[in-house]
């Protein structure tokens, strides 16, 4: 499992010809081609409950030697302290339940079962006989370590799901395979959200890591794929974990070249250099990507929202009516049709994502210029000098900056349209194009007015995260009073049933969309282009699109992904 590095062909530098002889070849070291003896999913406890006989012919035919997936970004050696690309992490790591918190009823993965004892307590039984990729047996200690490490160790994106919402007090080991979790306040969704969200780390590795952010060893998990090689900025190579507890994966090797340039990515796909692109086909290409018949496109709903973040504790955004007026001013359909060429859903039902089972189905964020004008007039933002643009209640010019990343041309185009639409209501918005890290900077320093950006599944699909977002500063801040919302959050914490909490979140969502601190613009859709001759058994699971481990686990994977295992 050592990182295989490129040999440094220094000499070959000097004479290009020497390239012919040496180059910088790095042969794949282990050739564990598909000689696995077992059938598809024998020996897996979960499989026992399934109707192991496959009905779909596609599934039967599947046994692919190698699949090449183009990825658009370098995610490092899959250290989850520095990477948040869940679909990649998920190939190597397993959670206790799967596929994700974005489905109604996640099924056991590393867990065998979880049982709620009372409002505050859960017991968890972990799966027996699972091994880490390095051969060490997986135990309940690993789970206990992981949750405590997330809670007490260096912060990462999972930390506050153990330390804040919910707040796990103690984890006791009852026996070798059983753990008892005690929360500080009611945690009805511990299983369906928390257990389905947090990847489990290997204790024997991570307890020795001094600084997890500088940890660069290749990731070691229990998942269906072992990361065997990673060359920064060039590629990943994965090999199937033949002993995976849900059965041997259907694809023996997965290689993922990192192709940052969009043109290059789809060129490579057309040329057959890669079999599938992990970057969604941009709308402008959809019309002809299937030309020639070699490629197919699968559409999935991306569990994400393209939003305009408002700096809610700054004038004029502290005023909830002003926020409402902004939301009323946006003609989401026109933006979707113009910029996305119709390949997205207009964000007319607001925040969070309508596809999440945790989202209130009756939300609405209408486009109503007259109403917007009326609201603005009502709170004193009027055009006093007759230039067609409103001034603030003190008669000072109102100028709002909309920051947008230079790396996102569709956002820039969107912002151009937004500017027009806001101007239509009389709000003067200036678009500011900044490079991506400047955007991050003003976002974390909170020196912006409005930023256009995207929030992914974790933000818009996870019910706990919605509350968390109101603590963490993204949608609101813990220390800034927001009576209406705070009351609901308190109620939510007190509530001990999932159903009850869901109803309260629906109220929170309604309140939020009336005075949003994030203006939903559109729900992007993902269009995955792939070569069906190589592999066609793609399944969709919310928040992960179609490229994830469940696509490579045959029938059982499909059942997990579609949440009826």
């Amino acid at each position: 499992m050592k990182r295989v590095r490129e040999s440094k062909g220094w000499i070959s530098i000097v004479l290009v010809l020497i390239l012919l002889a040496t180059g910088c070849s790095s042969n794949g070291s282990n050739g564990s081609s598909g000689q696995g003896a077992e059938g598809t999913d024998g020996g897996s406890p979960a499989a026992a409950s399934t109707s192991a006989s496959e009905s779909a012919s596609a599934v039967k035919a599947t046994s692919v030697e190698e699949l090449k997936i183009g990825v658009a970004a370098d995610s490092g050696p899959l250290n989850l302290y520095t990477t948040s690309d869940d679909y990649l992490l998920d190939l190597v790591f397993d959670k206790l339940f799967g596929p994700s918190p974005y489905v109604d009823e996640p099924q056991p993965l590393l867990a065998e079962s979880a049982e709620q004892l009372d409002d505050f307590t859960w017991t968890l039984k972990v799966r027996d006989g699972v091994k880490w990729h390095d051969g060490t047996p997986f135990t309940a200690d690993d789970v206990k370590f992981t949750f405590e490490y997330y809670r007490d160790g260096p912060q990462n994106r999972f930390s506050h799901h153990v330390s804040e919402v919910p707040k796990i007090g103690t984890i006791e080991k009852l026996d070798d395979t059983t753990l008892k979790f005690t929360c500080e306040y009611a945690c009805p969704s511990l299983k369906t959200v928390t257990f389905a969200d947090l990847p489990i780390l290997a204790k024997h590795i991570w307890e020795n890591v001094e600084n997890p952010r500088k940890f660069t060893d290749l990731a070691i998990g229990t998942g269906p794929y072992k990361l065997v090689e990673y060359v920064p900025d060039q590629y990943y190579r994965f090999e199937a974990n033949e002993d995976y507890f849900l059965g041997k994966p259907t694809v023996s090797k997965i290689t993922m070249p990192i192709i940052k340039d969009q043109t290059a990515m789809f060129n490579a796909l057309r040329a057959g250099e890669i079999d599938v692109s992990a970057k969604s086909v941009p709308s402008e290409l959809l019309a002809n990507i299937e030309d020639g018949g070699k490629l197919k496109v699968k559409r999935t709903a991306e569990l994400a929202i393209v939003e305009v973040k408002l700096n809610y504790d700054k004038e004029p955004f502290v005023n909830e009516s002003f926020r409402n007026a902004l939301s009323l001013s946006i003609d989401r359909q026109t933006i979707t049709d113009t910029v996305l060429l119709g390949h997205a859903r207009a964000g007319v039902t607001g925040y969070p994502h309508p596809d999440s089972p945790w989202t209130n189905p009756n939300l609405s964020t209408p486009y109503d210029v007259e109403a917007a004008r009326a609201v603005l007039d009502g709170i004193g933002y009027k055009d006093t000098n007759g230039d067609g643009l409103r001034e603030d209640p003190n008669g000072q010019p109102l100028k709002i900056k909309l920051a947008v990343s230079s790396a996102e041309p569709t956002y820039i185009r969107t912002s151009e349209l937004l500017k027009e639409q806001f101007a239509n209501t009389g709000i003067d918005v200036a678009v500011e194009v900044l490079d991506p890290s400047a955007i991050t900077a003003i976002s974390s320093e909170r020196t912006f007015d409005m930023i256009i950006g995207m929030i992914g599944a974790h933000g818009v699909g996870d019910p706990d995260q919605f509350v968390m977002s109101h603590y963490a500063g993204y949608l609101w801040k813990k220390d800034v009073p927001y009576p209406a919302m705070d009351t609901l959050i308190e109620q939510w914490k007190q509530e001990t049933t999932i159903e009850g909490r869901k109803l309260i979140s629906f109220q929170m969502q309604e309140l939020f969309n009336k005075q949003p601190t994030s203006l939903t613009v559109y729900y992007p859709e993902q269009n995955w282009a792939y070569n069906p001759d190589k592999f066609a058994d793609w399944v969709e699971t919310p928040g992960y699109g179609m490229i994830h481990k469940y696509s490579f686990l045959g029938e059982i994977g499909k059942q997990y992904a579609t949440n009826n295992a």
């Binding site: 290409l285 910029v339 230079s406």
Partner: protein, 568 residues
């Protein structure tokens, strides 16, 4: 004719720029769409009134180009202006003030010229945030140094010129001198620099915008390309109308500037005008006397020139005559001195005899060497004759040796191009010859710059004689040498001429020198032979006013001295 072509290039360039300017100014009025308006369906192919189709949000691309031209040209011009301003300020300060300011500023220039240019541009571009002013700033920061250095060196050369010195002597103030004398002299020279800066700015703008470091909201050619690239124009046919046209606009503008710049540079830089290769000199057979007319006398002369005229056409259609109807015969073993002031046509005559006149000279008349009509020889025959039968010791012999090769190599080469000699024979011949001209063999390994002027002249003489020509033209062989060395060289030539029985034409403006060496003297004035005779005859009997003038100008002491030296 050459400068006409450069001029034509300049005109083409001006035309291109004017066309672009028209497009920029009139385009928005003529194109039926507003570039900001979403006038069509997104990504439409050309057609339906959209000549170049539409972009990713349905804006007319042609309209974008016309508007984009403004931003691109503005950034180009303003960026160039800004860098010129900084560069000129610093260049003037350094060049005119001199002293520590000069030292300090020039170190600064050195440093900024050594800094990696493009990477710095990207770093600055990113950190200042994408906007037009950033671009202009980046361009200015990166381009001033070259301007400053250039201007400083020009000011240094101008500063010591007469008018400036005079003004200073009369107590004029610095500002006055700068304004009235220095800037008027240097600014025209800066125009090509300015044009270069403009083109560089336009190219840089496009690169910056393309990398996303420009302002994507300001429509420029670069930002159009940025969107085209970002929205996958390459994977469809859209690149043909979305990528190619903005690029062509850039190429068009930059090329226009380059043409104009090239033309201007040709005009201000005299260095570039010394060589040209237009056509081949062909004698005008229709004009002048028939060559056969001279044959009647039989051929006793080593060289016979009949009715030789050389004209240089001028722009207006008239021609300037450099030589008019020259008749001249040189007999075997005779030295004919040709004397005249500069511009009298002496060197033209040498070139004409060697058949080395450069275009656009036009020649008529006949030149026969030992009975062969030189003007009728083919290139190959001419090459065989040059150096072998008739040799030239050129004017400014100081620089007649190629500076990068050793004496040995150049002498060997001279032999090899005419004869096949063994290595040993070549060596023997060279050493023999060097002995004759009085140079020790060890200098064979020397490079020209390691030899003194006199030694170089001897090497050149050796080179001319290495293939035993019977006829030698020595064109001002002593220019640039100090008096004592001049005397030595002339003695040497005289000696060699006698030893080898050479026929020789000895060209000089220096009548006393010629008088000592020549058997016969021809006086040349404004292209015509005005007088002719033996030295004795001319100095005593010539009644021609021009000859008299030349004769009377000879200081008698110098003359006597010279005679003594020569006879040594």
């Amino acid at each position: 004719m050459r400068s006409n072509r450069a001029g034509a290039m300049g005109l083409v360039g001006l035309f291109m720029l004017a066309a672009m300017l028209l497009f920029t100014l009139l385009g928005p009025a003529l194109i039926p769409y507003d570039p900001a308006e979403r006038s069509g369906s997104p990504l439409a192919a050309p057609g339906n009134g959209h000549l170049l189709g539409t972009n990713d949000i349905g804006q007319d691309i042609l309209a974008e180009l016309a508007t984009g031209a403004r931003v691109s040209l503005t950034i180009g011009l303003v960026g160039a202006l800004a860098s010129m301003l900084i560069g000129v300020a610093i260049g003037v300060l350094a060049g005119y003030r001199g002293g520590w300011a000069d030292t300090l500023l020039m170190r600064l220039v050195d440093v900024s010229l050594t800094l990696p240019f493009l990477p710095l541009m990207i770093v600055i571009g990113v950190f200042l945030g994408p906007s037009m002013s950033t671009q202009i700033l980046v361009i200015a920061i990166l381009m001033w140094a070259k301007v400053a250095r250039e201007l400083r060196s020009q000011i240094l050369s101008v500063r010591t010129r007469g008018p400036v010195q005079a003004a200073r002597a009369m107590g004029a103030g610095d500002l006055y001198i700068l304004r009235r004398h220095i800037l008027p002299m240097t600014v025209p020279l800066m125009i090509p620099q300015f044009i270069q800066a403009v083109t560089a700015s336009i190219l840089m703008e496009s690169s910056l915008s393309f990398l996303g470091l420009g302002d994507p909201l300001a429509k420029s050619w670069g930002s159009i390309l940025f969107y085209a690239n970002a929205r996958s124009a390459f994977l469809t046919d859209a690149w043909i109308w979305w990528v190619v046209p903005p690029g062509l606009c850039i190429v068009w503008t930059v090329l226009g500037c380059s043409f104009v710049g090239y033309w201007l540079e040709e005009r201000v830089s005299p260095r570039l005008q010394s060589y040209t290769a237009l056509g081949k000199i062909t004698p005008k057979k229709t004009a002048g006397r028939p060559a056969s007319a001279a044959r009647t006398g039989g051929e006793s002369a080593a060289l016979r020139i009949d009715g030789l005229s050389v004209r240089y056409p001028k722009a207006g259609g008239e021609a300037v005559a450099a030589l008019r109807d020259i008749d001249l015969a040189v007999h075997p073993a005779e030295i004919v001195g040709i004397v005249g002031e500069s511009g009298s046509g002496k060197t033209t005559m040498a070139s004409a005899i060697m058949q080395m006149l450069k275009p656009p000279a036009a020649r008529t008349g006949s030149i026969r060497l030992g009975g062969d009509e030189l003007t009728a020889l083919s290139d190959r025959e001419l090459r065989a004759a040059r150096g072998r039968r008739i040799a030239l010791i050129p004017q400014a012999a100081m620089n007649a040796l190629n500076p990068v090769w050793t004496v040995r190599k150049q002498l060997t080469e001279a032999i090899r191009c005419h004869r096949k000699l063994s290595r040993a024979d070549t060596q023997a011949r060279i050493e023999q010859l060097l002995g004759q001209v009085g140079i020790e063999p060890r200098y064979l390994a020397a490079y020209p710059h390691e030899l003194s002027g006199g030694m170089r002249q001897r090497v050149v003489i050796a080179m001319a004689l290495v293939n035993e020509p019977s006829f030698v033209i020595a064109d001002e062989p002593t220019t640039g040498l100090d008096v004592l060395v001049q005397v030595e060289i002339i003695a040497l030539l005289k000696k060699l001429q006698q030893e080898l029985g050479l026929s020789m034409i000895f060209i000089s403006h220096d009548l006393p020198v010629v008088k000592r060496i020549a058997d016969r003297i021809v006086i040349l004035d404004r292209g015509s032979v005005v007088d002719e005779g033996t030295p004795g005859h001319l100095s005593v009997h010539s009644g021609h006013p021009y000859t008299r003038k030349l004769m009377d100008a000879i200081p008698s002491i110098g003359g006597r001295q010279m005679r003594q030296e020569v006879q040594l």
